[in-house]
């Protein structure tokens, strides 16, 4: 490490895993530099423009410039690797200041105490690399609360059998407004003896500082927020970090190498927009580039001390990648089958569904009679994006392309008479030897660097749990009077909910990071995105990533002092 580095901390990435570290250390008076691969989109840059938000590669890289390689089992049962440029399957998320938190839907749920000790609570599962966390729920709880208050989470606490312990009685922001369908879900579930709970959202229901409350635009997920109500790292944390005068954020700075000696990271090298290579030095380096790219950066950072990649002399970097998924389903509600006043209420745009069920967080295995880990189901409306909505209607149930009058009649009916209510299932994506990140030996990005190769295998147990929850969810939709009810349970990974790859743990042989998310093998390298998670719980990860980053920030302040 240089004797007098310009910065105390260099943070690579600026999303949910980076934001709390940047915020807390800047506020504590330390000099922080942030290297963000993507551009800075200001709030004024965001509109409800489907071309920009979902039809073109604006918030994500062009796949020709920056492909990745996905490796899946083919029909012959062999692993087959394909470039995302070749397939068109985009695995990127928001590449910009604030990261993908700018574009999240903000379904926020805490992990439960049992999620921190999955192995000791439920036991081994053959073929899965389950491990207990080196911290407990109690260690993280104060930081979950901090996220509610500082980042902004709205909701209402309702007692239920898997409610996690809380240090405060309720959320600091009341629940967002709901569509009438939420009450229909409640009623139908109640008839089936299932308890629904309000789903917390990382969206402000009332103003906070410079941020305005949600104005119910009807375009939330995949879109940047125009009122700053959505609790992105950019508006919730980075703006305040800049106000301290201690924070420098460099956009369009693509870090490709971390230099090190045998004990410490000594510099972060990045390409600027002209392709120049610039090196930044600091006392501490924090990587939060999202799970896949964090592992890729470490694997790319090879030197004589770390010939297999930084912090990877134990061969663990990139291993045990996980996703938050399980399946999706839904059903149609037809306006012409409802009383006009109810149809009008159902059609009301903007207001949310915000219903979740956690009754199945622990279930009983029918074969063994043993308790096993279950999951969560969240309900939501189909997104309002009209082009994407139309494209999903192009093909009929037999896989034939609709066209002409038949297509137009179908489209008109679908847009004017149907409201689709969907559900998303989240189960523990069990870590296995077949889900990991490595470097592809053929495909390069536009800078000539090897791209991430992501093997996306899953454990069959995941599907078994998801099927159970799917059956329950479909019954609720049927009870509500839904039509065309469907579900798709699969091991297909959702690209926007990724974690693992640099799991934390006590044993340096089987983990990359220690309990403070410092690399076992280096004195000044920390990782604060979702990479640290050895297991993921049965909810989306973002709240936990924010909370853990606040936790590590507290530790870092003590270390640097």
């Amino acid at each position: 490490m240089p004797k007098n580095p310009k910065y105390d901390v260099c943070v690579i990435g600026s999303g949910a895993g980076a934001g709390p570290v940047i915020y807390e250390l800047s506020k504590a008076g330390f000099k922080v530099v942030v290297l963000e691969k993507g551009p800075w989109f200001r709030t004024a840059d965001f509109s409800k423009d489907e071309m920009v938000a979902t039809r073109r590669s604006v918030y994500t890289p062009n796949l020709k410039d920056e492909p990745q390689v996905i490796e899946e089992l083919n029909e012959k049962g062999e692993w087959e690797a394909k470039s995302t440029y070749e397939t068109g399957r985009d695995f990127w998320n928001g590449n910009c200041v604030g990261g993908s938190s700018n574009f999240m839907s903000g379904y926020f749920s805490r992990l439960k105490p049992s999620d921190f000790k999955l192995l000791s609570t439920y036991g081994k599962i053959e073929g899965a690399n389950i491990a207990d966390w080196p911290i407990t729920y109690e260690d993280l709880e104060p930081y979950y609360e901090k996220v509610e208050r500082i980042v902004g989470v709205s909701g209402k606490v309702v007692k239920h059998k898997f409610l996690e312990p809380r240090s405060t009685p309720d959320f600091p922001y009341p629940p967002l407004e709901e569509n009438i369908v939420s009450s229909w879900i409640d009623q139908a579930a109640s008839k089936l003896n299932i308890q629904t709970i309000p789903l917390p959202r990382a969206i402000l229901s009332k103003p906070k500082g410079d941020r305005n409350a949600c104005y119910y635009s009807n375009y939330c997920g995949s879109y940047g927020c125009s009122s700053d109500a959505k609790s992105s790292a950019r508006v919730a944390l980075l703006h305040d970090a800049l106000r301290t005068g201690n924070c420098t954020i460099i956009p369009n700075a693509k870090v490709f190498n971390l230099q090190s000696d045998s004990k410490q990271v000594t510099g972060a090298q990045y390409y600027d927009t002209n392709g120049n290579i610039i090196t930044v030095d600091a006392k501490i380096f924090v990587v939060a580039a999202q799970a896949v790219e964090t592992s890729r950066l470490l694997l790319m950072s090879k030197n004589k001390h770390f010939p297999n990649g930084l912090a990877n002399n134990n061969g663990q970097v990139g291993k045990n990648l996980i996703f938050s998924g399980g399946g999706v389903g839904g059903g149609d509600f037809l306006y012409d089958k409802l009383a006009p006043d109810l149809a009008k209420e159902l059609a009301k745009p903007g207001v949310f569904v915000n219903r979740s069920i956690q009754d199945f967080y622990e279930i009983t295995d029918k074969k063994t009679g043993k308790k096993i880990k279950g999951g969560t189901v969240d309900f939501l409306f189909e997104h309002a994006n009209p082009v994407s909505k139309a494209i999903r209607q192009k093909w009929d149930d037999d896989g034939n392309l609709r066209y002409g009058n038949r297509l137009q009649k179908h489209l008109h009916h679908y847009f004017t008479n149907v409201r689709k209510l969907k559900f998303e299932i989240f189960v523990d994506w069990l870590p296995t030897d077949n889900c990991f990140v490595s470097l592809d030996d053929k495909v390069k990005d536009k800078w000539g660097d090897p791209v991430a190769k992501i093997r996306v295998g899953y454990h069959p147990h995941d599907l078994k749990v998801a099927e159970y929850i799917s059956d329950k969810s479909k019954k609720i939709l049927a009870e509500m009077g839904g039509e065309n009810i469907y579900a798709g349970i699969s091991g297909a990974p959702p690209n926007n909910l990724q974690a693992g790859g640099c799991r934390f743990g006590i044993d340096p042989k089987t983990s990359v990071l220690d309990k403070n998310c410092k690399a076992h093998e280096l004195e000044n390298l920390y990782i604060t995105d979702g990479s640290f998670m050895p297991t993921g719980g049965s909810v989306t990860y973002t709240w936990t990533i924010y909370a853990n980053s606040f936790r590590v920030a507290s530790h870092l302040i003590d270390v640097i002092k």
């Binding site: 993507g38 551009p39 800075w40 989109f41 200001r42 840059d45 509109s47 409800k48 423009d49 489907e50 071309m51 920009v52 979902t54 039809r55 073109r56 590669s57 604006v58 062009n62 796949l63 020709k64 394909k82 440029y85 070749e86 397939t87 068109g88 399957r89 985009d90 635009s217 009807n218 879109y223 703006h239 800049l242 106000r243 005068g245 924070c247 420098t248 954020i249 956009p251 369009n252 700075a253 927009t273 745009p349 309002a384 009209p386 082009v387 994407s388 139309a390 494209i391 999903r392 192009k394 896989g399 392309l401 066209y403 002409g404 009058n405 297509l407 137009q408 008109h412 847009f415 004017t416």
Partner: protein
Amino acid sequence: MIRSRRNFIKGLCATGILIQTPMFTACKNEQTYTPILSFNHQEIAKSFFGILFPDKLAPGYEKINALFHLNAALTDPLADPDEIEYLKNGFKWTNETAQETYKKDFFQLNTDRRMHIYNNVWQTSWGESWLSRLLTIIFEALLIDPIYKVNLNEAGWKWLHHLPGLPRPNEHIIYPLILERKKESKPITHINQL
């Protein structure tokens, strides 16, 4: 490579998974433009747009300016060249089908024969996927913001009773101008710089 790419995309569409297809495009702000397609290929586009999305029940391709959008897609400098090539090849292969069937260019055919060629194209290994891509062009022209010089007078939105989200895009932040942000690398050290 192109074949596997388009087969994959067709598969995604069939299962309803496709949300974001990284394709081409661009929008020129001027009302007039120089067509990239030859007269013959434009005739193919008009005929097939008319078959895929006729104008009796819905705003047809003229009311949504679908040809303009197709042209914008084909001239987008930021687009994937393979995608553009694939889209262009479809017109070329369609005319070859006309030549093989009737010994004439497509524009020389009457309505019945044009429909016959459409059906022949449908049956080819590439046809359904390519026609699906034309439909995507139509859907975009039908339903994206009129600031892109399509969906004229909000014809598509009115037909489907669609309410756009607010704020709607302004001329400074539409595609591809918003990509100028990707060229800014000046360090930001204070909130006032934003």
